[in-house]
């Protein structure tokens, strides 16, 4: 065993999880601020730390921005009473939040979030797998268990219906999602995500080659993360928050964290698949210096934050679909469209190769 490798992997894992947790906290704040902007409100502007809040200009500015709100939210989630209703199935009730959270952290492992840092062998990806994308889909498909078990564990009707809905919805959209990315790999000829970025560095971003794929992937990602046009597992008006009705305090926060971590993973996946990962027009060679390496990570995070903005923006602009409309869209529109997309792409590649 190579101790150097183990050490650097451990450092990368800690940094990535730290980054995802920070982004989770501040994407909740961004969500609240942007929704406030869209609905013509102010949003969180009161939470302040005692000393920093009274610093003349900066303190007031940060408070108005809601910069300390995530701290207050986190404290509230931890300090609130953790109530377990007497009729729940205890084991699953405790397991479900963890099962919901773990897969979203595991998907981040194969995402190349930068080129290299310092040493050219020090790739900025935790696990450089040859079957990268399949690993991601496998882990994402495990995410449904958290919600289904939460619904089952609660042992009451609304959560149960939410759990059943989520299992049907997530399986349906996984199919469309999986088929939407096939053209990308036909074009690039490799399942490894690092190689995919390399291809995009030389030939341009894949969204130019496969815009239909991007469209299907984006909509399926909304469905997979249970975000608003498709948040039927927790639809408030029909299911009083669905699978997380019986949950309180930190367990509820874990579900919430899982949803946002899923959003972060989906956005970074889209950056890698369609927007060239860490590359940028003019910046296509892997970094040889520390500064360019950091710049590449910055570019990646910038692209990812833009896609997160799309997620948030869509949530507050579109009304919720009805359940039969959701199924109809998944099975009767997207799956045929994805199949046709594969066929067209394969034919075109076959034609141009001759």
């Amino acid at each position: 065993m190579d101790w150097n490798f183990i050490f650097f992997s451990a450092v990368k894992i800690v940094c990535v999880i730290g980054a995802v947790l920070t982004m989770f906290a501040y994407s909740v704040l961004a969500e609240r601020k942007i929704s406030a902007f869209i609905q013509d409100r102010v949003g969180p502007n009161r939470a302040a730390l005692p000393l920093i809040g009274s610093v003349p200009v900066v303190g007031r500015f940060l408070t108005r921005l809601g910069f300390w709100q995530p701290v207050a939210d986190g404290l509230k989630a931890i300090l609130k009473e953790d109530f377990t209703p007497s009729y729940v199935r205890k084991v699953y009730f405790w397991l479900a939040p963890a099962i919901a959270l773990i897969p979203s952290f595991l998907t981040v492992a194969v995402i190349p979030f930068g080129s290299t840092l310092g040493n050219p062998n020090n790739k900025m990806v935790i696990a450089d797998l040859d079957v990268g994308i399949l690993y991601t889909f496998g882990i994402v498909s495990l995410g449904v268990y958290g919600i289904v078990l939460a619904g089952y564990a609660a042992n009451s009707k609304y959560p149960f219906l939410g759990g059943i809905r989520s299992s049907a919805q997530m399986i349906s959209y996984e199919i469309a999602m999986g088929m939407s990315v096939v053209p990308l790999f036909l074009i690039a000829g490799n399942l490894n995500l690092g190689k995919l970025i390399e291809y995009q560095a030389h030939h341009g971003w894949l969204i130019c080659y496969a815009p239909v794929s991007f469209f299907i992937f984006l909509v399926s990602a909304f469905a997979e993360t249970n975000r608003l046009p498709f948040d039927l597992p927790e639809c408030e008006t029909e299911l009083v928050a669905g699978y997380n009705t019986e949950y309180s305090s930190m367990k509820f926060a874990l579900f919430f964290m899982g949803e946002y971590a899923n959003m972060i993973a989906a956005s970074s996946m889209m950056v890698v698949l369609f927007f060239g990962g860490w590359t940028f027009p003019g910046l296509t060679t892997p970094a040889d210096a520390l500064a360019t390496g950091l710049l590449h990570i910055g570019i990646f995070i910038g692209k990812m934050l833009l896609l997160m903005l799309v997620f948030i923006w869509v949530r507050w602009m579109l009304p919720r679909f009805r359940y039969d409309q959701l199924m109809d869209l998944g099975w009767r529109r997207f799956i045929p469209l994805a199949l046709a997309n594969i066929l067209v792409c394969a034919t075109w590649l076959w034609w141009t190769m001759k």
């Binding site: 065993m1 699953y92 797998l129 040859d130 079957v131 399949l134 690993y135 889909f137 496998g138 882990i139 994402v140 498909s141 495990l142 449904v144 268990y145 289904v148 078990l149 089952y152 149960f160 759990g163 059943i164 299992s167 049907a168 997530m170 399986i171 996984e174 999986g178 399942l191």
Partner: protein, 167 residues
Amino acid sequence: MQDLFFYLFAFLTLLCAFLVVANPFSRDPVTSAMFLVLTIVSMAGLFVLLHAFFLAAVQILVYAGAVMVLFLFVIMLLDLKEEQRRRFNGFGVVTGVISIAAIAAIFVKAIFESPAPGGDATPTLEGATKPLGRMLFNDYVLPFEILSVLLLVAMVGVILLSKKDLK
């Protein structure tokens, strides 16, 4: 290191598989289904140790991620209490023993007929996506297509059964 992981995953697979069929603590079908998921995931671990990354990923994606979720879906929609009360089924035991004997016979035959592992036992299918695809679509294309037709037949049958008013 490899051996340690092999024994760990093999033990987990066997333990979880045992708990699927005979769990002393719970007769809840959902618990059985969740242990089946764990069995599948530990088998994927065994595939990884054989360097069959593609098979491992597909195992988790298809079986743990899709098939078992549908199992759960069906179990949750059925009446669970009746299943928990059911004790013993003579017909089931007899057919079970016969099928286990048949499968065991096939395994024993396969093990005795396979060549003994030589000194160099390292797997040759590194990152097996391409060789696997070549094999499926060149050497084994007929069985592959027959299997897909079989699946199609099953699907058409299910749709036919689920239609309420047959003309």
